[in-house]
């Protein structure tokens, strides 16, 4: 920085190890091709997709609130979670249940959350992971702060956070990345660039050629990866996590994918995007791509596929039953976790809510 004459070479690489048609790249290491791991990835992605299909049908039949499906974006969550250690911390956005399931969040917890029940964010496993974050980009600074805490305590843990393409337009994203760069916090920021922020296409979000290059201005390494290639996602995130763990600081990873479904069940994407483009994107989706490779390697059969689909459906059914049979919430739940201890001055409000909850007829308009 001492020279009067300065310039800057922008260098953002793009990593793809498995082509859309399922051909493995020569650049893939032996470890990246570990077939047992790839079968695990395949199973996990299929599990997520089975869940998404069921969740949408629950919403359509009035048994679930608004739901944000991860359809077509499963590789990002599965590849990322596999690169994390259990002790690491996930700071999710609101479309990250693929990663959350791998981290131990149950499907019934996910359903409780979208079904309007705060107990869904009280994970039985992965209790160090943050809850879903709906206000877009506000989670990014949390991830940097959490990473700072781990760094200060010299804990051997890193933080991984997700954000959408639209989220990178938000001030909180830039602020977080800037702080991460200055403090060299052990954080990996992954952009799920699925092409759409509800109805707003990527090109109306930013004039930047890539979103990964937003890292450059923060002095942070930025990389692009094919987000529909679970092998590449796993490799790129694994390296970023290793770097963070060894004191090398933050990385911004832009994972390129496509939102094959609506933004949420409250959205109707046919209002603003061409179904032809969506059909074309189906040829790039992550699950068929990996299946094609596994089949070509003799590592996956029709029988295994049938068994997997059956097992996934059974698990989803069990979890749906657990969700639907969850104990009813009393009005006390509004007060139970408001403070460590409910102030005495608020006790009457809890009792007032109880008094009206006990009446059968609410008389709502």
């Amino acid at each position: 920085m001492g020279s009067m004459e300065m310039g800057f070479d922008l260098n953002v690489d793009f990593v793809q190890l498995l082509s859309p048609s399922g051909e493995i790249s020569k650049a893939a290491s032996a470890s990246a091709k570990d077939i047992d791991r790839l079968v695990r990835f395949y199973r996990a992605m299929t599990r997520t997709r089975t869940f998404d299909n069921k969740a949408i049908s629950l919403q359509r039949t009035g048994q679930l609130g608004t739901f944000a499906s991860a359809l077509g974006q499963e590789a990002i969550g599965i590849g990322t979670a596999a690169a994390m250690e259990e002790r690491d911390v996930l700071v999710p956005s609101y479309r990250d249940h693929a990663a959350q399931f791998s981290r131990g969040m149950s499907m019934s917890e996910c359903l409780l959350y979208w079904g309007g029940d705060e107990r869904g964010s009280d994970f039985k496993h992965a209790r160090g992971d943050f809850p879903n974050c709906v206000p877009v980009a506000t989670q990014a600074p949390h991830a940097v702060g959490a990473a700072y805490a781990l760094m200060m305590r010299k804990e051997d843990r890193v933080v991984v956070t997700f954000i959408g393409d639209g989220g990178t337009s938000n001030g909180a994203f830039y602020e977080a990345l800037n702080m991460a760069g200055v403090w060299k916090t052990p954080v990996v920021v992954i952009i799920n660039n699925n092409g759409w922020a509800i109805s707003t296409p990527r090109e109306l979000e930013s004039a930047a050629e890539t979103l990964a290059q937003k890292a450059v201005a923060a002095g942070v390494e930025g990389r692009q990866v094919d987000g529909n290639d679970v092998i590449a996602v796993h490799e790129v995130v694994r390296r970023a996590i290793e770097k963070a763990r060894s004191g090398g600081g933050p990385t911004l990873i832009e994972a390129l994918t496509y939102r094959l479904g609506d933004h949420t069940t409250a959205d109707d994407a046919s209002r603003y995007r061409d179904p032809e483009i969506v059909r074309a994107q189906w040829t790039r989706e992550p699950i068929a791509r990996l299946r094609s490779y596994l089949v070509s390697e003799g590592a996956w059969s029709k029988e295994q596929e049938a068994e997997l689909l059956k097992a996934c459906a059974e698990e989803v059914d069990r979890e749906v039953a657990a969700y639907l049979n969850a104990s009813p919430l009393s009005s006390d739940a509004m007060f139970d976790h408001l403070y460590a201890k409910l102030p005495d001055s608020m006790q009457w409000q809890l009792e007032d809510a109880r008094r009206f909850a006990e009446r059968k007829e609410h008389g709502d308009v």
């Binding site: 609130g65 608004t66 609101y94 959350y113 979208w114 079904g115 309007g116 029940d117 705060e118 879903n132 709906v134 206000p135 877009v136 980009a137 639209g166 989220g167 337009s169 938000n170 001030g171 909180a172 922020a197 509800i198 109805s199 707003t200 109306l204 979000e205 930013s206 949420t264 409250a266 959205d267 209002r271 603003y272 919430l329 009005s331 739940a333 509004m334 007060f335 408001l338 608020m346 409000q349 007032d352 809510a353 009206f356 909850a357 009446r359 007829e361 609410h362 008389g363 709502d364 308009v365």
Partner: protein, 326 residues
Amino acid sequence: MSEITLVEAVNLALARAMNEDDEVLLLGEDIGVNGGVFRATNGLQARFGRARVIDTPLAEGGIAGVAVGMAAMGLKPVAEIQFSGFIYPAIDQIINHASRLRNRTRGRMTCPMVLRSPCGAGIHAPEHHSESPEAMFAHMPGLRVVAPSSPARAYGLLLAAVRDPDPVIFLEPTRLYRLFREEVADDGVELPLDACFMLREGADATVVTWGAMVPETLAAAEKLEEEGVTIEVIDVATLKPLDIETILRSVEKTGRCVIVHEAPRTAGFGAEIAAEIAERALYSLLAPIKRVTGYDVVVPLAKLERQYMPSVDRIIDGVRQVMEAS
């Protein structure tokens, strides 16, 4: 005239305002091609073009901030924040700039912008989609705060808000967007931004409310009348500036007052109204003022939202309490 919903009335008023003034423009997330997530701006981009109906990047602070800049240059931006839970980054721009640009420059620059946002609970929406932030804005000097409760009032108040020379926060209750229809004439006639609406006259008590709680309060009034208790129902509609005179006149007549709002109780706007009544009409009161409000809790997710929001039942109970007190 035709019967339309509240959200259609918002659309109608925006189209009217854009038609009559080329300097009115809309900006926000998903408001163009998609017509807004609630369809409040449906069809307006096709009609008025992309330069006047802007699909912005996802940045609420930025949306409010560029609206301040546009307004300072004389445009009339109407910015939409998609849900009230996402309005907080915009508050920086609204409080530090929109509300005080006129004052800071001794009138040399002004900020004739409108910040629209859906608000309130009751539609089974996800987290952070059900907030009622009106009191925060009402607290800030220099702003106008409006909360319509019917299609006709939404139309007339929004037209007035767009034409007003100062910044207006316009909070649209999501639960009322499609709850009922009403005849609205697209006549370009605005409603005053400083007057309450007396929706129902009565002798026994005054019930003051606004926004999403208006239909609940009117339903409570019907039921109470069956018991022989008649109440006046006042829709505040424009919280700031507050038309306290209409409220005081009513309280002086009935001697009893219940204030109903969906937002949490503590430091809610009901406290301001109660304080004004205490200062200026205490001796007219036959009973202590009663507030029926949301509890002082984080607005719960869908399963409990009905137990959070004041119900017809709770409003009737509140009125009975002031009746029994004297």
